[in-house]
């Protein structure tokens, strides 16, 4: 069976909330019912049928062809199946994801995978600021699953990370892994200033170091850790490049000693 496909007709005239377009929400809905779903974020009513040509298919596999920076909350709260966006998305893509898989073949705006709990999110392009982080007023960010960004991430990637694995193939902005509670954030490229700012626990890997490291991280020397091998083994199919970094001898910096100080930054040596 073909996937349920939404083909973008034209660039939307306002920001749209795509959160209703998830497998659990579209199961057993007719095409007419799907076309009538409202997506507007202003007083002007916009339905799915206004924005997309909709092709019937398996609602567990949703494809959105033609992205837009105005497509907000793609795959938000999804629990199973897959949502593939063949283009860019706006803010909060995959926010609170509970299960299944969200694939964005373009770039994502701020708060992508914000507070995701389980499942898998893959972003082929870049991610905006506060990747996986909490919204204002929330106390924890991502708390499970695997988030893979093939491009670079903006400031505060992995803010308040609680559990799960965030893999960034490119660079990261300033304050990567800020206020981390636990979990793993791996950046294959270079991080901006002060990665791990006020982190309590958790692991940050910096493949190419950072533009500035905080003096509140204490050098614990270089080691080849069994735990890093286990991590490499678990991510080797998702990101062979980051898996190779974890297999190298790692300099361990313990911190942030301005907070609880039980976290760590790994920097590969050699």
């Amino acid at each position: 069976m073909n996937p349920l496909t939404f083909v973008t007709r034209a660039s939307p005239g306002q920001r749209l909330d795509l959160s209703p377009l998830t497998p659990q929400n579209l199961a057993e809905k007719s095409l007419a019912e799907i076309a009538a779903i409202e997506l507007q974020t202003t007083r002007e009513r916009v339905t799915a049928g206004d924005v997309f040509d909709i092709r019937a298919g398996d609602s567990e596999r949703i494809v959105i062809e033609g992205g837009s920076k105005r497509f907000d909350r793609a795959g938000m709260g999804m629990r199973s199946g897959s949502v593939v966006v063949e283009g860019d998305v706006g803010v909060e893509a995959g926010r609170g994801l509970f299960g299944g898989e969200l694939i964005i073949r373009g770039s994502a705006g701020p708060y992508a995978a914000s507070g995701m709990k389980s499942g898998r999110v893959e972003i082929f392009g870049d991610a905006g600021e506060r990747l996986a982080g909490p919204l204002a007023g929330e106390t924890i960010g991502m708390s499970g699953g695997v988030l893979h960004v093939r491009g670079s991430a903006g400031p505060r990637a992995g803010d308040r990370l609680r559990r799960g694995i965030v893999l960034i193939e490119g660079d990261a902005g300033p304050y990567a892994g800020s206020r981390m509670i636990a979990g793993t954030l791996a950046i294959a490229g270079q991080a901006g200033d002060l990665p791990g700012y006020l982190m309590n626990r958790g692991t940050i890997l910096l493949g190419a170091g950072a533009t500035m490291l905080s003096p509140t991280f204490a050098d614990c020397g270089v080691d080849e850790l069994v735990a890093a091998r286990l991590l490499a083994e678990s991510i080797k199919t998702t990101s062979p490049r980051i898996a190779r970094l974890f297999r190298r001898p790692l300099r361990r910096l313990a911190g942030d000693l301005a907070a609880l100080g039980k976290g760590e930054i790994f920097i590969p040596t050699l």
Binding site: R163, I165, V226, A227, L230
Partner: protein
């Protein structure tokens, strides 16, 4: 008792009687096979019988780097006990004293499904005194405990099965100590190759088969005089005049099928060696079939 034969070796038409047990397994890895075996050997020392040791434990198999979670050489160890609480206690004590202490070691769940979970790293982690770190990936949770050579990595839990079987056995009767031992060694070497099976006694072989009870108060088991060759003339012996030595192989397995497969392999190996170089006769121990629910009839195990 009727006698059958297998390649010239007499086989008693009797059965081995075995019992339900609880079992768990762990995979121990180390920088080299030597140190993985060292940790496993230490962990399974003094674990021949639940009566005196709390558990029966042994090495199931040696694992190559591709078969272990961290890509290092490893060994799978199985532990058997009569209760969940005793198994938990033995697992915790033996991991803490014998694996945690071993240079370069790490310890993982050796069963990935079962009836209940047992604490592994979840119990050992407190050795970290607050410096322990939990990591969770691939659906499994690990503890990293700082130690003097780096970190001891230990999976949080392992599984326990209630379908394990303990006490499968073969009695090997020979014309001399040398020939009987040769037959026992031949059998043990093929039996321990069966997956999910351990032979808990020294080298897989036990020479002090016991009976239940004793003339002395406080002794729950004592020597099985019917199988002692030096008492042949003095007691109601189970031995033929030409038998000069008896050895037993005890088998514990994760499943009844594994125990049966090991016994079958053992009978075949003894038969293959033949009566001239090995055993004259094969028998098995039972309690009349009333105590254990697993019965392995030797006639069903003949090659």
């Amino acid at each position: 008792m009727q006698r059958l034969t297998a390649k010239g070796v007499a086989v008693d038409d009797t059965f081995a009687e075995a019992f339900d047990m609880r079992a768990t397994a762990v995979v121990i890895t180390a920088p080299s096979r030597r140190w993985a075996l060292q940790a496993a050997t230490t962990m399974t020392g003094f674990a021949t019988s639940v009566i005196g040791c709390g558990c029966e434990a042994g090495i199931d198999k040696v694992l190559g780097p591709r078969e272990t979670p961290d890509g290092r050489p490893g060994v799978r160890v199985i532990l058997f006990a009569v209760s969940t609480s005793e198994l938990q206690k033995q697992l915790q004590n033996r991991t803490g004293q014998c694996v945690l202490t071993c240079p370069g070691s790490a310890c993982y769940a050796g069963l990935t499904a079962g009836d209940e979970k047992l604490n592994l790293g979840a119990a050992i982690r407190y050795f970290g005194d607050g410096w322990q770190i939990s990591k969770r990936f691939g659906g499994r949770r690990y503890w990293r405990v700082p130690v003097m050579d780096g970190e001891f990595v230990c999976e949080s839990t392992t599984w326990m099965t209630k379908k394990a079987v303990g006490g499968g056995n073969l009695l090997i009767l020979g014309a001399s100590r040398e020939k009987t031992l040769a037959a026992a060694e031949a059998a043990a070497s093929v039996m321990r190759r069966v997956d999910g099976v351990i032979l808990p006694f020294p080298g897989g072989v036990v020479r002090s088969g016991s009976k239940v009870g004793s003339k002395y108060k406080g002794a729950s088991a004592s020597t099985n005089e019917a199988f002692c060759p030096t008492l042949k003339g003095a007691v109601a012996t189970a031995l033929d005049p030409e038998v000069a030595s008896v050895l037993e192989i005890v088998i514990d397995g994760l499943t009844s099928e594994a125990v049966g497969a090991a016994m079958r392999a053992g009978v075949a190996a003894i038969a293959e060696l033949g009566p001239e170089r090995g055993a004259l006769r094969i028998s098995a121990g039972n309690y009349g079939g009333k105590l254990g629910k697993h019965h392995y009839h030797l006639r069903d195990l003949l090659p």
